[in-house]
Symmetry: C2
Subunit: 518 residues, 2 copies
């Protein structure tokens, strides 16, 4: 029997997916738990990925006419009282500021000063609809002031009981778009436009295929008229909600008095939207592409797209190898990929070669280039791809294949193409994986079987994406809850198709998407 | 008598400088007060300036080897108890989180849930030395882990009684660098390097001349061994501390157990630094350059460097003028200034011409270009500079001069030069203003006279920068306090020069810089 190849991450995905995820985060040096319950420290490699996400999305927001602004971290408690539905869903578990001073407690420690109790508690923003809405109410007077198209990059806090790095943390980083429009039509168009921006970003930059759809009533943002999301399949067959866009109708405008004079001089309520993505995207990226050797980064978001590792045993070899690597770095950096110079790192740290090599594999760098004296002599480079082309998927080897010697000039000429291929491969691989676990189900028993490990044909890796007819309502939600399945969305690209709700037998005109979810 | 020229901002700088400042902030649409005490809303134009500051500084930090990361918003109260000196100076006035849930209060409102009181209160970070230090203690094991060169972009909260937009607000945005080094020498070099980066940024990008120096004991950061700052003169002859860089010695390392094995195998404490600038820089930028017509932006940081205003009376003229403006915008954008394309905005909003023009003057855009049918016919443009060249300073006109007709091609060819000239003019003008109010004082009575409005020869605009011999100590601090003057710093470029402390007559070897300050 062939020896089982050794992998860098233990447990493997098959052995224990949640544990594997934590180990990938750790091995890739992305983040760690902090001294504050539920809050993480985002380490430089993880933060650099987030910076690439930010920069790219920010460009897309600006290209669609949005401007950035910044609103207070704190929300007066009374603001949350105004919008009852909103309170219901969001404001319960949150950080409450009650004092504005510390003083010595008389026992060598500190305490909140009783004399500095706030008259009205402040909430650390869990989301900013209320405080931004109150501001917009001042900005909007006339139809000439509309539309208002604002985005904010910020930290938010939602007190979470069970946290998992990037996926669910008490504090997280995100962007929240908030817009005001004169008409329902414009506000609806904005909601859909931003959903499209998210989908384009997820598929184009993250290489993560997504399904765009509308949320069912139970999953709707509190206070919204309609919530749309992008949903992505992770390798454990669970789905991740990766971004949401809300059409808020006039609900928030009424609660916050966002009114304007229309061209006829009448005072009317405005129409608002909000939309957001967060550091959760980093979690989605990890779970979509990574393997049992660690993180796999889509080239477009990789902080380094190529890493060069000089290999030498003594000073004489070093004097030969290092300048060769430095000039290689300059030449690669002069190549263009994805609208900018190729990002190349030269790693000349004093570490054992094997340790260094595995660090970069676990960190997911797309191309790893080793250069030793023999490569210098041959004007070559030894190149490893972190991801093999689809056809070579089953080829043996560790950390993405054995690698190959290439003439230096040829590598420089090909580097952008190789990165583009890897970006495409990652997307294709994820799309193929999704296709393989997607089914249509027209029967409740079959639905239950599909989502119950013990009843499933493949208990280890059961479930997937089930498209089913359904009629929205509380009855269905109860059944789903028992199975730990959720209606992810009603896909926007779904065809009209007559059928019967698998839960209630009531007539239905289109299918919704069901899956277990994060 | 000549008619007094009308200005856009009232009161003028001479009439009431603090009020003038608030009016500039408002007229330029930079920020506004929010519904949360002491917190401001940074509006798109103000935030865009901050984004330009961020982007440029971020590049300078990365070029000097630093990486970005992100640490928790909250600091456990016990962390502040560890470092007594630090508590003393920073942690008293701060936002204290005591509960993690809201619940209905039984009267239709909400209240912090008594059952959700935190065991240990959390402090919203006023600065992050303690929480980052605790993290670094885990990261640093061996000398091989050093140096650690980290920067964080974040919001911080310091409960302020008297706030002024950008200059002093309860919540503000900033960056905080935190580094760990194996030796004192390296840590000291880092401290000075970052001070140089700040000075280069202030003078090169903000066109704001600064004096680099070391703080006296009374002005030192709590817990630091040495604090350095850049100090800039505002137009009211007060100085603004615009950035600080702290050499923390081993104080924080000891409090937080940041230890490492040196090459000989001995466990020793590390040496740390921290350094920061904030949205206060925007306040400094406003107060350095703006005039009685509103904001004046240094071209390098202007969100728009050129604004094009099409002028037409009817659709026929519009059809002629607008395409001309659009192609002008493309051509200008194709020009390079300051390492990137010229930033050009075309303002075709349906607003009266005068109102539109004054909006852009008040917002400080360096070049305003008006294009009407006659300009189209003559292949020309009508260009106004927000800032006149130094020689033309006293030329008549509003909002930076009367403007001039220029052939379109000539303007396109000159635009980068014009922007570079304005950037230089702003710096030169500010440097000249500083020189004009800088004195050497060797006598206490003269010092008092210089800083006391009633005793000054110019009560309306008294004071300035006084270089005096002094010996650091509490005696001097008391005298200064009475005069509302502070020792800004001991300038780094000051010459050794024997003298006597003007307050105590004790021998001194160099002069310090004294001024009233923000």
């Amino acid at each position: 029997m062939a020896k089982k190849p050794k992998n860098a991450i233990s447990p493997s995905r098959v052995e224990n997916y949640p544990q594997w995820y934590q180990q990938v985060v750790k091995a890739a040096d992305l983040a760690e738990t902090s001294d504050v319950r539920g809050c993480m420290v985002i380490k430089p490699w993880g933060y650099a990925i987030w910076e690439n996400i930010q920069q790219r999305l920010d460009g897309m927001f600006k290209a669609t006419g949005h401007e950035n602004a910044y609103f207070p971290l704190f929300i007066p408690m009374s603001f949350l009282e105004k919008e009852a539905k909103h309170v219901e869903g969001f404001a319960k578990e949150c950080a409450v500021v009650t004092h504005h001073r510390l003083e010595p407690d008389g026992a060598g420690g500190l305490q909140p000063a009783p004399s500095a109790k706030l008259e009205e508690p402040l909430i650390v923003r869990p989301t900013s609809e209320t405080i931004i809405g109150a501001t917009f109410a001042r900005w909007v007077q006339s139809y000439r002031d509309l539309p208002i198209l604002i985005n904010q990059w910020a930290n938010v806090v939602r007190w979470e009981l069970r946290t998992r790095m990037f996926l669910r943390t008490t504090e997280f980083l995100w962007q929240e778009g908030h817009t005001v429009h004169a008409t329902e039509k414009e506000a609806r168009a904005e909601t859909r436009q931003m959903l499209d921006v998210y989908a384009e970003f997820a598929e184009g930059a993250m290489a993560m295929p997504v399904i765009k759809g509308e949320k069912t009533e139970a999953e709707r943002f509190p206070g919204a008229v309609a919530t749309y999301s992008i949903e992505a399949l992770m390798q454990d067959r669970k789905m991740l909600q990766a971004g949401t866009s809300h059409f808020l109708g006039q609900n928030f405008a009424r609660a916050q008095e966002i009114k304007f004079q229309d061209p006829s001089g009448q005072e009317v309520y405005a129409w608002t939207t909000s939309w957001g993505v967060s550091t959760r995207l980093v979690g989605g990226l990890i779970m979509t592409h990574s393997d049992d050797d660690g993180l796999v980064l889509p080239p477009k978001l990789a902080p380094a797209q190529v890493v060069i590792l000089p290999i030498y045993r003594n000073d004489a070899e070093r004097a030969e190898v290092l300048p060769y690597c430095e000039s290689l770095q300059s030449q690669l950096t002069a190549s263009q990929y994805d609208g900018g110079p190729v990002r190349v790192r030269l790693d000349d740290r004093d570490l054992r070669g094997g340790e260094k090599k595995w660090q970069w594999i676990k960190r997911g760098v797309p191309l790893r280039v080793e250069v030793g004296p023999r490569d210098v002599a041959a004007s070559g480079v030894f190149v490893h791809r972190r991801v093999q082309p689809m056809a070579a998927e089953d080829a043996p080897g560790q950390g993405g294949g054995k690698g190959a010697s290439i003439p230096r000039d040829a590598f420089i000429a090909q580097v952008a193409t190789m990165l583009a291929e890897m970006q495409q491969t990652l997307f294709d691989r994820a799309a193929r994986a999704r296709e393989a676990v997607t089914v249509k189900i027209d029967d409740e028993a079959q639905f239950e079987q599909f989502f119950t490990p013990e009843q499933s044909e493949q208990p280890e890796a059961h479930g997937g994406l089930a498209y089913c007819h359904f009629v929205d309502g509380p009855e269905m939600e109860a059944k789903l809850k028992a199975l730990k399945v959720t209606a992810r969305c009603i896909p926007l690209n779904g065809d009209e198709e007559p059928g019967k709700c698998i839960f209630t037998d009531r007539p239905s005109s289109r299918r919704a998407l069901f899956a277990k979810a994060y």
